[in-house]
Amino acid sequence: MIRNEENGWKIDFSTEKPPTPLLDTINFPIHLKNLNLQDLDQLAAELRADIVYSVAGTGGHLSSSLGVVELTVALHHVFNTPEDRIIWDVGHQAYSHKILTGRRSRMHTIRQTSGLSGFPKRDESAYDAFGVGHSSTSISAGLGMAVARDLLGKKNHVVTVIGDGAMTAGQAFEAMNNSGYLDSNLIVVLNDNKQVSLPTATLDGPASPVGALSSALTKLQASNKFRQFREAAKTITKQIGGATREVAAKVDEYARGMISAPGSSLFEELGLYYIGPVDGHNVEDLVTIFQKVKAMPAPGPVLIHIVTEKGKGYPPAEAADDKMHGVVKFDPKTGKQFKSKSSTLAYTQYFANALIKEAEVDEKIVAIHAAMGGGTGLNHFQKKFPERCFDVGIAEQHAVTFAAGLAAEGLKPFCAIYSSFLQRGYDQVVHDVDLQKLPVRFALDRAGLVGADGPTHCGAFDITYMACLPNMIVMAPSDEAELMHMVATAAAIDDRPSCFRFPRGCGIGIPLPCDNKGTPLEIGKGRILREGSRVAILGYGSIVQTCIKAADSLINHGITVTLADARFCKPLDSELIRRLVNEHEILITVEEGSIGGFGSHVCHFLSLNGLLDGHLKLRSMVLPDRYIDHGSPQDQIDEAGLSSRHIAATVLSLLGRPMEALQLQ
């Protein structure tokens, strides 16, 4: 039940679908136009109830959407989407936007195979102006759209919504700097909820905001001397009385300088007109401001600083340490999540445990991450070694070069950045780390397909972009024990950079090294897991487990394949590969990465050494040359053609038994 009481709207959260009489009349933003402010307040309350109910059933990002309900309602009420463009930075807060733009009936499919994407996506809806997922891109895109509008002579508005966390990335400043210079009409909404790092940053709850930017933003919200200055300013203007326009304007500027919030000069210096702070949960305030700015002929770039609370309106989210940022299915009444029990930990956890163990014996080991303490497992490292763990905010480029600086002085930095996020710091990897041969260790989590987050977060390219670098050692564990050994290996590699990749997901349940302490592996040496004949499968990374399943299923067809775990993509185990080629007719390489990775390196090696001139049938199984949509991990693997069935089918076809290949389950 959602009731209007004298203090505001009261929402009873329960497992029943909440009655939402007003929201039921809204299919598209045009239906918002004739609502009055009271209706908009009611709509916000109903939206909240709807989001909680919907996400409780599907899992996804909860609290960020709850924090911007009023903002979304105000934006769609004032602006005329889709002609007016709204760009959501990162996009995980856009659930209410999706509900209001014709996708309410499909919200129960969000982040699932063939369902709605968890982030705005251009080919999903005309109301999603720009595809997002990685942060801090919205202002750049918005400026591009604004400039295009100007060149094409159109009159629509462009609004970008960016959070205070995303604001710490360099790209946001690059965009603001450029927008100040170009002076195109653009509205930037800075959604400030004091969550500069994700609330999962530390084990003990939200991290104190990272960086100088947050203290600047906090100062903006203080209003100590404000009233006095304002009164003084008004008196001055009054006394001047019938002054000419220029003088009045000058006085205004001066008065404004006195009354403007300390710190707003940060944005003013970049050329954006600062308005705020504004209560981001007050629909009336937001509507007033947006209407006024919309009505102005040439405001130029404007930054509206709104203050919101993450998870607002849902008490379990407000109270939770991690604010229920990303959740699995939960009970709406209590907020308790239905986390499935797994007998093994996530790879992320094994990595963190192994790194902690290494750091216990070697005090030169330090860890760096980019605002992803929980996601990388480094929140555990931070708890044990608070002075040796560095959260740089959403700044991957800086993280890499910062690590390079640490390495140059003899420390042993481990840079834990997701495979797809490291793309942002690639030049730094090449130029600052690899070119100078500095021993920075990269722990690439979320390598390969990642399931519900979809292609924006998919780590398809890291093998390719790391293995082509001359000095980089590139390795991948096939299970959690191998992962711990590789952490130790990386710690031991002190003369050149190294990296290892591991997927999203849990371990397979293999016995771990004693006390979580791995042993360094011999560099450039793989291992044979099974001996067979005629056919050899050479897997790289966690997909070796899938190869094992394929090998098992082939036994039923009377085929015993040789199974090898390459461990290293660079340097390749040339001895192992030569042996496989010489002793088998068929060699299949398998990896969960794009073209240009492990398979390509093997192929190149074979061709250079004349090993393709003979009897060998070589096939490389890689991710296909297209983006795989979000969905369940199994669906994605099937779509990519890398399931155990596909591997077994490839073997059978090469052996001249295509009918059996087609009949595989």
Partner: protein, 185 residues
């Protein structure tokens, strides 16, 4: 065009109640929006250990007490609990009590503040003392914000009218002048 006006004295203290059935309900204040008010309310009610006592209980008087009664009760209590006259082992406890008494007196002796307090009390709220002050501060802060952005909007509006005059050489201004076909001013 609406100019939001905050009427003094319409503070809406949010309520956080736990029903017997276990439903968690929360009232977001309609006007003005108080950030985290619900969370603070809950924290406030649990804070400080003096959950049950109202200002009236502290002073030992009835709820309808006159100003004279309040003054007398305060003087009596203050003499008892003043840190200078309390025995050393009870100094901490007495000091705390004294501070609470002060706040009780300040609230109840001011008619408008007392009215607000009585209203809360009628609704069954016993806020710990410091958080009530926090609410008031937040309210003040929010209305200060509003004044500030209203001013900022005014200035922007004035600026924007003159923005595309021919002196402005920015890319945006040039394109806008071209597009509008006329040069402003």
């Amino acid at each position: 065009m609406r100019c939001g006006v905050i009427l003094p004295g319409t503070s809406t203290a949010p309520v956080h109640l736990r029903h017997g059935a276990g439903t968690v309900s929360w009232i977001p204040p309609k006007r003005p929006g108080l950030r985290a008010a619900g969370l603070k309310a809950r924290a406030a009610v649990e804070e400080g250990g003096r959950v049950g006592a109202s200002f009236y209980d502290l002073l030992g008087i009835s709820e309808g007490g006159s100003l004279e009664e309040i003054k007398r009760a305060y003087k009596k209590m203050a003499r008892k609990y003043h840190p200078d006259v309390s025995p050393p082992d009870l100094a901490g406890e007495h000091t705390r009590r004294f501070i609470e008494l002060q706040e009780a007196y300040e609230t109840l002796s001011d008619p408008s503040r007392r009215a607000r307090y009585d209203k809360d009390l009628a609704r069954g709220l016993r806020f710990a003392f410091s958080s009530r002050r926090r609410f008031d501060q937040e309210l003040e802060e929010k209305s200060a914000w509003k004044n500030r952005w209203q001013d900022q909007l005014e200035t922007l509006k004035r600026r924007s009218v003159q923005r595309d005059s021919t002196e402005n050489l920015s890319w945006g201004a040039r394109i806008r002048r071209q597009r509008d076909g006329v040069s402003i001013e």
